[in-house]
């Protein structure tokens, strides 16, 4: 029963102040929502980010960043079929948009439709312009097919002129999804050393170390993340999950640690 109302927005419950403010050139409220959505996705609050992107689009339907964000959040929430459908709908509005094609490629790759993913990735590269996200998506398609050169694509993504700090987090999450935490840490570590004040970077590192079976190190990372932001649900849930581990979970973690030596 509670699940039916799980997606209603109770601002007080989430602890976010989503009062509209007049900022930015995209629209009076859209920029504010974009920033809030970005913050939510940094902290792994994908459901909140999706809702905020939707609010942004209700203010300004031309915000392509929000359309792309919606598809990406659906992918993070593992609703791949819906993500693909929504990317197709967005592409009907914004034809041959490279970012949307790249998002569709990611959805197809995670669903196992490698041919569709390759075609969408090719379309995104052919579209005018370039961005780190297109290269990251292409790298994910190669990674999904276990083909080589994905690392080169990720490196190329980071060499784009408009690359940002969050692009490394994107790469880290892609590697984690395909169960390559070591590769994920390679891309995450430099930015973490440069910006230790960003709590969500510690959160990502905690996930990587958990995947490597290093529970103690992961716990420290999650606690560090909570020091930066006390109400981070993702960090709190991760810590609780570590505490609730059964004997079998500890054995699996130990096995992973041993294999990764």
């Amino acid at each position: 029963m509670a699940g039916r109302f799980a997606n209603l927005e109770f601002d007080e419950r989430h602890g976010h102040d989503i009062q509209p403010q007049v900022v930015g050139e995209t629209g009076p409220d859209a920029r504010y929502y974009l920033d809030r959505a970005f913050e939510a996705r940094c902290w792994n609050e994908h459901e909140q980010a999706l809702r905020t992107y939707t609010r942004c689009l209700q203010e300004d339907r031309t915000a392509i960043v929000a359309w792309v964000g919606q598809v990406q959040m659906l992918v993070e929430l593992r609703e791949y079929a819906e993500a693909r459908t929504w990317s197709d709908k967005a592409l009907e509005v914004f034809r041959n948009n490279g970012e949307l094609s790249a998002a569709k490629a990611q959805a197809c790759a995670r669903m196992g439709d490698f041919e569709g993913a390759q075609a969408a990735s090719d379309n995104s590269m052919k579209a005018p312009g370039c961005s780190p996200w297109r290269w990251s998506s292409r790298a994910e398609v190669l990674l999904a097919r276990s083909q080589r050169h994905h690392e080169e694509c990720f490196t190329r993504a980071l060499s784009e002129p408009d690359t940002e700090l969050y692009d490394r987090v994107t790469i880290c999450r892609i590697y984690r999804y395909y169960k390559r935490p070591t590769n994920a840490l390679v891309f995450l570590q430099p930015v973490l050393e440069a910006h230790p004040e960003l709590g969500y970077l510690w959160l990502e590192r905690g996930y990587c170390e958990l995947d490597l079976g290093m529970s103690a190190a992961a716990t420290r990372c999650f606690e560090r993340s909570l020091e930066v932001r006390q109400d981070s649900r993702a960090a709190a849930q991760a810590l609780a999950a570590i505490g609730r581990r059964t004997l079998w979970g500890r054995i699996c973690a130990g096995t992973r640690r041993w294999r990764r030596r």
């Binding site: 339907r61 791949y80 079929a81 819906e82 459908t85 929504w86 509005v93 034809r95 669903m111 005018p128």
Partner: protein, 345 residues
């Protein structure tokens, strides 16, 4: 109006951008994406579908490489996805664009399937199954035909024959064998006299051993396998007779005939008369899994003397459950008497 997607300046009131065809008027567009259910059924379905296509394609590529290694003539550049869809003949053609041919193959196959089911297990049934296998083989061959690099007619013919044999033995034959665990078909000979609910020439479906859930009851008509008991010549094959006693019942064979739990079994026909020729008495209790039937199709000839030995007859009329093939449930042939057979009728 400037297009958000490509930046092209369009005429006012344009609906779509002249350069990239993106929509310009976005006010009526829905911005709330459809969400998945808790089970994410759509995603799971597509994941499974793509995985199946990849697996079948992968198996096909492996077989192709193996065949090349063995220097067999296997065509290259085959549309393996269409081959995978040809699990149902015609679907591969429809997906690869050959809609008419695909529809023709599909419809023909379905017609053969339906007619085969309707005539099962009469003499017509094998012909319709052969038709299904032929259509299936043609579907595969027509998908491979444009890319065949065979040098001679003989190799092509051998390939077709091999494909037909593989499909009939290892696909349809395997499915049929598996299906016999659920339903068993019997085509009764035309000159067979009427027995119980059936007549000569009937096509009967009996429930198989995996479908049979409730124990057999007294009065059930069942198919059972007949085997030769020592000293008794019995027509080898399958019999159809009535169960007269179930596990736990006490059977007594004597000159008065056969009794079950002290009483006479109902309607066993000439069997009682045959039992009255016994020279000795015998009494026993049926164990777990044993059933007594009243066989009407036995000719007993022990060393040329028309005598019955109760021990041999015991071995014959008491059948264990694994020799009972099933209870007839449906008459499919002739169509004029198509219908279900009531239990004990």
């Amino acid at each position: 109006m400037q297009c958000i997607n490509c930046g092209f300046e369009n005429m006012p009131a344009s609906m779509n951008c002249a350069q990239c065809q993106s929509r310009l008027m976005l006010d009526d567009i829905c911005v709330v994406p459809a969400r998945a259910s808790a089970l994410r059924l759509k995603t799971r379905f597509f994941k499974m579908r793509h995985l199946t296509e990849r697996s079948l394609g992968g198996i096909g590529r492996v077989l192709s490489r193996v065949a090349k290694g063995l220097r067999l003539a296997i065509p290259e550049h085959i549309d393996w996805r269409a081959i995978a869809w040809t699990v149902i003949p015609g679907l591969g053609h429809r997906r690869s664009g050959q809609r008419r041919l695909g529809t023709a193959l599909l419809v023909t196959w379905i017609v053969c399937l339906v007619l085969g089911l309707l005539t099962f297990p009469s003499d017509w049934y094998p012909w319709f199954v052969a038709g299904m296998v032929t259509v299936h083989s043609l579907a595969f061959i027509s998908l491979m035909a444009p890319n065949l690099n065979y040098e001679g007619f003989i190799i092509r013919a051998l390939f077709g024959v091999l494909l037909y044999v593989i499909l009939s033995r290892f696909v349809y034959g395997a499915l049929g064998s598996f299906g016999q665990n659920y339903f068993v078909g019997f085509a009764l000979p035309p000159n067979m006299p009427a027995i119980g609910p059936v007549q000569g020439g009937d096509g009967i479906i009996a429930e198989g051993r995996w479908l049979h859930s409730t124990p057999y009851q007294r009065g059930d008509w069942v198919f059972y396998s007949t085997t030769q008991a020592s000293g008794i010549v019995v027509r080898k094959g399958t019999g159809l007779d009535q169960i007269i006693a179930v596990p736990g019942d006490t059977l007594k064979l004597s000159r008065e005939g056969i009794t079950v739990n002290g009483g006479l079994p109902e309607d066993v026909g000439d069997f009682q008369q045959m039992m009255k020729q016994l020279s000795a008495e015998s009494s026993f209790v049926l164990l777990e899994g044993e059933y007594a039937i009243a066989p009407r199709s036995i000719s007993v000839n022990m060393h040329g003397h028309p005598r019955f030995d109760p021990y041999y007859v015991q071995a014959l009329i008491v059948r264990t459950q694994d020799t009972i093939l099933g209870r007839p449930v449906l008459r499919t042939w002739p169509w004029s008497r198509f219908g279900f057979l009531n239990r004990g009728a």
